[in-house]
Amino acid sequence: MRRFLRTALLLPLMALAFPVEAQVPFGQASGVKEGLEIGSSTSEIAIASDFRGADLTIFGALTNADELFLAIGQYDVVVTLEGPKDYATVRKKERVFGIWMNTEGMTFEQVPESYSLASTRMIDSIDEAPSLNNIGVGIDHLALNPVGYIPDSGIIGEFRDAYRRLKLSNGLYQRDTSGVRFVSSSLFRASLKLPANIPDGMHMVRAYLFKSGQLINQREMPLRVVKTGIEQAITDAAHDRPLAYGFLCVLIAIITGWGASIVFRKD
């Protein structure tokens, strides 16, 4: 009872001692959480075989944003485009009897085949690594879990680094740390880079809103990437009707060979 009284007395004192009131209008006390909305002109992208890469623009808006926090740049937005997920195998070559051969390998569980990130600034200066790892935002923070038990964790790190490096160098993983720009106090525009070798299938656009380094809201939106054209039709045929496709290949060979022997016949 006595303890309760003491706290009850302390509370108003603390309110006087620290400028708690000053924070109230800018913070949670307003009762409404900041909102985040994103939109794109399309939910499907058709790419032809001569596709050399492009930019995808995502528009977004902050609602109920705090003017002061906006003014001092306490809001950060990260927008990512994650490709379809699949297993990925990294292999390492070593010299064996003078010949370079794959000796070690590691398979990672369900990682996005492509990953493009745009942010207002360096993602590692937005939030700390452990919490980025938790939400899996950023190329260095994507979950890369090896299949099976690997006793040596040093090796896992080595293969993870190699995976990220290879994906960045072949363009499937990209990042643009100034890709998100505020066009007005609450509207932003994110430019995501689509690599030339982007896989087709269901991609996911995700937007994350950080306030003073804390993730406070996120949104996601599916985006289908469809490859078009004769080349894609061939790829589909090769995978969906392999026997008919193989038969066609043989038929072309027979016609070409036979045709040549008729056309060039000497007698």
Partner: protein, 308 residues
């Protein structure tokens, strides 16, 4: 002008592929070889994934062998029965080969294995051919006639059971070495993308003692069916036959071959064979260098799982 290869998943210059096809076609016409053992390494040098290069190479050999087989069939220098026995072994070998191929691909050793096989094969064949052609050149210089081969000479092959009579070839021979030879060639077809004529022809002449006049036609007969079968199986299991690449190579190849045949008839054999031997050796050495030099990146990444 670039063209996109849908299965190899890369853009290539169409004129380089046409040139490759025509050059290999020319050589194959000149020397009477299928050209698979040259086209596959050339494609690999041009950054086509070995998986695709091998499967597409097998498809290309179908086209380059067919006109030769038709000619031999018309002339009656084709032993259907002998060819069919070879084919039994060939189809079994190709099936086993595709299985090994897929397994090597799963464990990530396919590229290495293809290169190693080519290095061994090309360097030994190139060295043998060079030796033979140099000897022939010396012989021609000294005006010594060719030693006459004694017919009717028998070796261990002729003591095997399960003998069959081949009327057209006028031989009585066990089916075991024929099926065995077909099997070995079938394995090479699916793992290396070659027809295998350059091994089969000497083996039939020197090992099985089959008369020379039916050897080429009969081997072409078996090569067509084994490569066609391999193309189908590769398409069905590894999805690795690139129809665009194959078509460009085949069209350029059959045209190149026609000119190769004409030039080949005019030139002297020994020098030609020495040249081909040097070319084969050069391709083999280039592949060997690729295995030995330190790669730019010791790591590689592939979509999909790994199994042991």
């Amino acid at each position: 002008m670039t063209v996109y290869l849908p299965i190899a998943e890369l853009s290539v210059n169409i004129f380089i592929i046409l040139g490759m096809g025509a050059a290999v076609g020319f050589l194959s016409g000149m020397f009477g070889v299928g050209g698979g053992f040259l086209i596959t390494p050339l494609l690999i040098f041009y950054n086509i994934p070995p998986v695709v290069a091998v499967a597409t190479g097998a498809n290309q050999v179908v086209a380059s062998s067919i006109s030769g087989a038709i000619t031999h069939f018309r002339r009656g220098t084709l032993d259907m029965k002998l060819g069919s026995v070879l084919l039994v072994g060939g189809l079994a070998g190709a099936t086993a080969g595709v299985w090994v191929f897929s397994w090597l691909r799963r464990i990530g050793q396919l590229d290495l294995f293809i290169s190693l096989l080519y290095v061994v094969l090309l360097s030994s064949i190139g060295a043998l051919m060079l030796q033979e052609s140099v000897r022939a050149m010396r012989r021609a210089k000294n005006n010594n006639p060719l030693p006459i081969k004694r017919p009717g000479q028998h070796n261990w092959v002729h003591r095997l059971p399960l003998k069959m009579r081949f009327k057209k070839s006028k031989i009585y021979l066990s089916a075991i070495p024929i099926v065995g030879l077909g099997f070995g060639i079938g394995v090479l077809t699916s793992i290396m993308g070659v027809g295998g004529g350059f091994i089969m022809v000497p083996a039939m002449i020197y090992l099985l003692r089959i008369p020379t006049n039916v050897v080429v036609g009969t081997s072409l007969f078996q090569i067509i069916f084994v490569t066609a079968y391999t193309t189908m199986v590769q398409a069905a299991t590894n999805y690795s036959v690139d129809i665009v690449l194959a078509t460009i190579l085949m069209v350029a190849g059959v045209i190149g071959a026609q000119y190769g045949v004409r030039v080949g008839q005019k030139l002297r054999g020994e020098q030609l064979r020495a040249l081909l031997a040097l070319l084969v050796l050069a391709v083999g050495i280039r592949l060997a260098v690729g295995l030995i030099v330190t790669p730019n990146d010791v790591y590689s990444v592939a979509v999909g799982g790994m199994s042991y």
